[in-house]
């Protein structure tokens, strides 16, 4: 069950982290 929980969080976590990082990179323009 622990593996299933981990895989489930990875499935949603990967796109979320990718989108979050893209937004953070875009936001850096404010501080330059």
């Amino acid at each position: 069950m622990k593996a299933r929980i981990a895989i489930s969080w990875i499935i949603v976590g990967v796109p979320l982290i990718w989108g979050f990082s893209q937004t953070v990179i875009k936001s850096l323009a404010l501080f330059q």
């Binding site: 929980i5 949603v12 979320l16």
Partner: protein, 459 residues
């Protein structure tokens, strides 16, 4: 289609409740793309002209209707299908949502390819909008029942996914359009088809993962508190009865005013920082990105905080602190203090997001769990109303002041003070919320068909 039936979604022995939040996140992260629809606006004004808008191309003002229709349909479908959702369970509703949202993209793509605007409205606005409404409310009731000890945190996690959806949807669309673009085609239709497919697959992960609570289940070691706030009921109120209560309409006002004020700031923050404070457009785009980060984080932070301090005090903070911060914006802009302005607007954004994320738990406190998804669905009409009224009001105030020759900076100041007034009204609505009269309570049968409790013990 029996795998979609409620009976087939009752958690099997050993199922962990920590599988439900990713299932909910999968749905909300996809439908949250709606906030990034504007990424298509510019290319859609050049579908014929390609390098620049041709006379036959759609106008940006026309394209704004697509998002508005989608948000209106979100509220309407959530209100209409809420009780159906409670009856058929989350899996069926999530599946319908995936079909509508993914299918809506495909129909909209057909509209883009054939340059028929009504098909774009029908696809993304109407069909996709129904998918938004169904998807938004589908996991709420289930999460609240799986997390009776932390309902704010659980629903906040899902609704945070909606806030994060734009962060995923915007760069995804930009990259796909780059990939599909040719010298004679901007790749919008192909991108929409691809996104419809990608989102359908991710949403199906949620469909297959979600489970409903077995009868009699509760978290290990947790007992329902016997002493709690008067604003937390042990009774159950149906959706039909809930809308007859003043509490429902006060919360409708709370959501409407908080969202309207938030939309006002979202619409004006970027012009203020550019036109009044002299920040470059690229940096202003970064500022908008920063706002979406705080909007997302606020959803989880404030809804989790509400589990500890209570829903009413949480909304009191939104409205009191919010009104102060809105009124502070003109000062920060006048002093040309970019750091102060950015901090103030970022905090406001956390409370805008928090307002969405805390409302399901507030409804659960006041009306019980039995039809909280359906009640939440009906309350979301406030969001639809704010989505239409908010921008209209902001545009009207801007035009009215421009016609009278009011300088831009001063016009923005007036807008901020009016929005602070919205929050004062919201504070009054929230202050008037009291326990629901017992005459609305109803002895309702558990909508979950009976299962063998002995075999339905989940972790």
């Amino acid at each position: 289609m029996s795998f979609l039936d409620r009976d087939r979604t009752i958690a099997e022995p050993g199922y962990s409740r920590w599988l439900v939040p990713p299932a909910a996140l999968a749905i909300h992260m996809c439908i949250g793309q709606a906030y990034a629809f504007s990424v298509f606006n510019l290319p859609m004004t050049k579908l014929i002209g390609i390098t620049k808008a041709a006379p036959e191309d759609w106008k940006a003002t026309t394209l704004a209707y697509v998002f508005s229709v989608a948000i209106v349909l979100l509220g309407l479908s959530a209100a209409v299908f809420g009780t159906w959702l409670e009856r058929v369970g989350p899996r069926m509703a999530m599946f319908a949502s995936a079909c509508c949202f993914g299918g809506g993209f495909v129909v909209a793509a057909l509209g883009v390819q054939t340059h028929q605007f009504w098909l774009v409205i029908l696809g993304y606005g109407v069909i996709g909008g129904v998918g938004l409404g169904l998807g938004y409310i589908s996991p709420v009731s289930t999460l609240i029942k799986w997390f009776p000890d932390r309902p704010g945190m659980a629903t906040g996690m899902a609704i945070m996914g909606f806030g994060a959806g734009a962060m995923v949807g915007s760069p995804l669309a930009v990259n796909l359009m780059k990939y599909f673009a040719t010298p004679t085609n901007l790749g919008v239709a192909q991108t929409m088809v691809a996104m419809g497919g990608i989102y359908f697959v991710i949403m199906m992960f949620g469909v297959f993962t979600v489970r409903v609570v077995p009868p009699g289940w509760k978290p290990a070691g947790w007992t329902a508190p016997t002493v709690h706030s008067k604003l937390i009921t042990d009774a159950q109120v149906t959706a039909a009865n809930a809308i007859k209560t003043p509490q429902f309409w006060l919360l409708w006002g709370v959501l409407f005013l908080n969202v309207s004020a938030g939309i006002g700031v979202l619409q004006t923050a970027s012009p203020i920082i550019q036109q009044v404070m002299g920040v470059a457009p690229a940096a202003a785009a970064g500022f908008v990105g920063l706002l979406s980060i705080f909007n997302m984080l606020g959803r989880f932070f404030w809804s989790s905080t509400s589990d500890k301090i209570g829903r009413k005090p949480t909304y009191t903070i939104y409205f009191v602190l919010g009104a102060i911060l809105y009124a502070l914006i003109p000062t920060a802009a006048g002093a040309k203090s970019v750091p102060l302005f950015v901090i103030v607007v970022c905090v406001i954004m956390t409370m805008y997001g928090g307002g969405f994320a805390t409302i399901p738990a507030y409804l659960r406190d006041l009306f019980g769990t039995v039809q909280v998804g359906a009640i939440h669905g009906r309350l979301l009409t406030a969001w639809s109303a704010a989505g239409v009224v908010g921008p209209l009001l902001i545009n009207f105030m801007r035009d009215y002041q421009e016609e009278r020759g009011v300088p831009k900076a001063q016009a923005y100041n007036t807008t901020m003070y009016i929005l602070a007034g919205f929050l004062v009204l919201g504070f009054i609505c929230n202050a008037l919320v009291s326990p629901v009269d017992a005459k609305y309570n109803q002895p309702v049968k558990d909508p979950v068909p009976s299962a063998n409790p002995a075999t339905a013990r989940a972790a």
